[in-house]
Symmetry: D3
């Protein structure tokens, strides 16, 4: 089985960390391909960043379809472009917020999300609602750490995240932690050991869930909303994204 | 006051119709600028189309900020890019689904949305929930008319839309109709006369609401989620969307 | 266009302030008529006060219908009698809580209501739910200022309201303020300047929204719940409120 | 124990039927006083009717407080004036929609409300939500029978109500019926026998619940929203409703 | 009328206290039979305890059916086995959490539950949702008192409960208290006097509500989900619980 | 890895079918142990059946803990005893309704559940809500096939289920099917091929999810509600279920 993990930002050091994390949980026969798009922002910390990351992400999905990829993980906690990606792909597509929240709801009764910047709290809440996970989400908390600081050597990020997780358990009545950024994937095991409660990283969770769906031969339903998009002209800079009706037919 | 109506698809015949509709309700002193982006799909009928329409839309918002625009209407019923646009803009930004649903909830007790293709029903429902309008939304119904057929001379679209509206009133227990596509803006008065209930078109409603917000000197709150996005490098094809920190400062 | 602003309490100093506020945002051609009913309580701070304010309010609506009024604003944050008024009126009717909450949801992501007495918090929450605005309403806070103290010269009300607004922003995670009493209409601009976030007064918001609805030729739907009430005898003190079937027909 | 059943309309034949129904379920030591107010509409079929019934209803509550009444039932399915009445009364106050819906949720899993005119469906739905009973309310159905036709000798009302109840069971997936008008109180036993499922009449249910609350020495909480209303001048026709601060003190 | 109060744990000192409490509110003609099952845990403080209490509880329901019992109260705040008991019984069955929450919603606007161990908070929240009472439930608070400590002479339980109730009123914005354990039934009057707000004990409330339902001749609906369970073999230790088809018929 | 699949009814032909289904999706290194409890009902079609199946199920969990089982699947669509089982187990525990609904929400936008008897619809709806999956659950439909008829050779069950699935897709607006009984596990592939949409069987889905959780080293959170149950005496027939404090300590 071949699973493509798409880090929708263009910071390849993060992409490599994400790929390593996915490989560490993947089944023996699974090939993990971790990529960043050729275009897009260096990190995703706003709706603007999300919007500009999506075309590059969709390019990687379209390429994956040509390359025979079996399933996809979108490795950014805002799950940018998830529904558009599900339209394009024949196999399953998971976002890491989606994966982490679902998994957290299976091992605990209430989780707290610990994320990077406070300005992204709204998006995490929005996703919790869209996935039906709001009832399990006790709180979303920010550490005010910019995404790329997680990559900086010597950063105090890990300590600050652990501190915020502790506050979450003490104040939110939660019994499980969800890490709110793909850039925290490598911290998951450490934080879980320190806290003694389940700590869920969406990259690992998403990889597992996509493997499971592929193994169950379950794919995005093509009846209705998530069917292949209708072919039509696309003008200007993004002209290359034009889908051809026959190509679509072949894909289907 | 200067209001920019952005039709996020690149079909200018629709843009002109939308502009005329906005002008027909605007106050005497208001200048309406109706545009399509330089890039993007010819119509928006999928999540994929939405995703690819957003960069061009944001370009128009950024241009609007340089041109001293006071407020914006996004004239596609999926309200693509709304939150990203609100981050960029100093003045208010409305989506037409948002505007139409709010207005419908002020004149009736339950509305039915009548839209184009069934595959977009999910997005309309999603927006109704996000805006708190789900409780007023009795149903979302599709006529299975592709968006551009609304532009075709001799099309039976108007008859089919009226028929679906009649079924909505008879079967949904609704007392108000929301037209679910910017391309229906010119049909609103006719359908309202035929049905004898309020029929809401989002282009007109959005124009009025943006005028009202500007007049009230109320602008998107820049505290938190909708503050100006952080400046950072954007790579590849979309490099031109890179925001400069000083530019941002000037804008603020 | 002629809009009637009804302050449902009988304190005319407040009515004049409300009228001035409405006029300051109304369009050039709009005539604002601001009135208090001939009967009812001096201020509205309980469900009992609300109940006794409604007959006088309805009298003003009925008079407005005879006088050719185009739309109405009910200028009390409990929105008393709103549905009954919508049954009587041909044009649109807005409550100021309704108007302020809708507008706040268009410019921010979460608002806090700052109101007078704590005993009215329940009603504000109830309205937020009824309007679908609960998801945007982070909190409702009281200053424990009786309504008429807002009218008293030398009152410290403004300072206490500003203080409560500051606490709201700091503690509630909100980015927008809604003023929870018509008697605060004149404080709106000042508080907005001090706080640097959108501050919404329902009198101004309601005036704008009614103007917009009239301009859009949208009126309360008369299909179903909000149709003209059936004519029937009314006994005793309120006998004068008896609607005549023919009068109803003429009105329709 | 003394319980006052207030039929908020002024049709005494209905009041007598309601009183008889309450007496038939009351405990031996309970005195039932069934009244109509001295003022108000002959039947309640609109928000306008409700609004004009409330002052007379509150007069009866105030009189009840002077007469040592222990608890109240408001015998109209729209539960008009319930919160204002709870402010005035020391003992418990129940509306019949409230009572019937609560009781129905205790004996079945889903109920259908069968009411008079379709225009009142919205109010029944609104109350179901306000009482937390929406999740048990499978549907609200109207027979299009005006309230006073229930009083007319030779009316076919009973047959039409039974027919609608049958449709409710067959189509709504409900296992319990709630009768949506005080004027149906005398039909309850008959319909229950015919249908073989629990049929709940709010007058009987409300009488029982008020007796239970009084017996449990539980009264409306006077901490906060439902405390006695603040005394203040009331002008004009309703001047007689002015509460005196000392009177309030005595009452408390 | 004969009402059986089943304390689903096997601690008879608590059963006697519960029986006394039920008798103190029952009507003159009502016989209260208070029992513990012959099998099950000494107290109920976990889902495991609940699961193992249910068979003994159902045995008592089945016995009650043979003995002509008119209605049942399940006297444990987790309402264990409620739906299964309702399937078996012809008369009404109430859980004490259900009874207490419903009653609290009739006398106040928001209640706080004060319970024993924090690990049971989730179950109380779950029940509040299942009964539609979540909107009235401001908070669930634990005193960290094990259930059987409530029975211990010289325990400080009462003081700690009163303290937690005070905090609830001060911090939760609630106006009513619900006691979250049958073992607190005897403290209800005292706490109510001390706090000056309604304090609801589910044993008393449940007894009253079952009496009311029996008096109204309302029984669990046997149409659908709560019909008598289908007869079938039960193997092993619980073989004695096998229902015989004829026995079922007789019961019906 | 060792996963125990517990069919909570005592019909071993179904247990074997379930085991075969789990093995067909399990990873190479995973040992599947499929069992029925030594005690309990032959099939589960009521709350009564569920209640009596749980003790036997918990016995199997306790045995599994002694045998070093890594995770559990409860193979009955009512998910009986799930929370109690999660308290006892160190590893993860999934119910098949939980697993199937989560998985369905990952591959489609709305699912219909097709189950056996109509009397179980309420439980399926209840679980959908408890898991946050209500928003994805378009409908729950029954075929009125008793559970054990699924085991009968020559039964027309498969045809009737396929027919109901077709109606679900046509009438519910759903794009995915969830099979509502463990006894349908062997029909999943066939129905999926016939319908051309994702068809989810909870046994396969649950097996995959438990494997994933074990692989992620994520276990039920032992902080709070799902901690090991407190040790205490259990009397009578179920005495053998008494947990010993030291045993608990060892287990932890």
């Amino acid at each position: 089985m071949r699973i493509k993990i798409i880090n929708p930002n263009t910071t390849w050091s993060m992409t490599e960390k994400i790929g390593a994390c996915a490989r560490s949980v993947a089944r023996p026969g699974t090939e993990i391909v971790a990529v960043s798009p050729a275009m897009g922002p260096a990190s995703i910390e706003s709706h603007y960043d999300e919007a500009l990351a999506v075309p590059g992400l969709l390019q990687e999905i379209a390429a994956g379809e040509r390359e025979g990829v079996d399933g996809y993980v979108i490795a950014c906690f805002g799950d940018p472009g998830l529904q558009a990606a599900r339209e394009l792909a024949r196999g399953p597509v998971m976002g890491i917020a989606q994966a982490a929240m679902h998994v957290a709801s299976l091992v605990g009764t209430r989780f707290s999300v610990v994320t990077t910047l406070a300005r992204t709290i709204g998006q995490a809440r929005h996703l919790a609602e869209a996935y039906g996970m709001q009832r399990f989400c006790a709180n979303v908390r920010a550490c005010e750490i910019p995404v790329l600081e997680l990559e900086a050597p010597g950063s105090k990020a890990r300590e600050r995240i652990v501190d915020e997780c502790r506050r979450a358990l003490a104040e939110d009545g939660s019994d499980t932690i969800v890490l709110g950024c793909a850039g925290m994937a490598d911290l998951c095991a450490h934080i879980g050991q320190v806290l003694g409660v389940p700590v869920v990283d969406g990259v690992a969770a998403g990889t597992q869930l996509v493997e499971s769906l592929v193994n169950l031969r379950l794919s995005t339903s093509k009846r209705g909303e998530l069917a292949l998009p209708p072919a039509k002209p696309i003008a200007g800079l993004l002209e290359g994204f034009t889908l051809q009706a026959p190509a679509l037919k072949r894909a289907a």
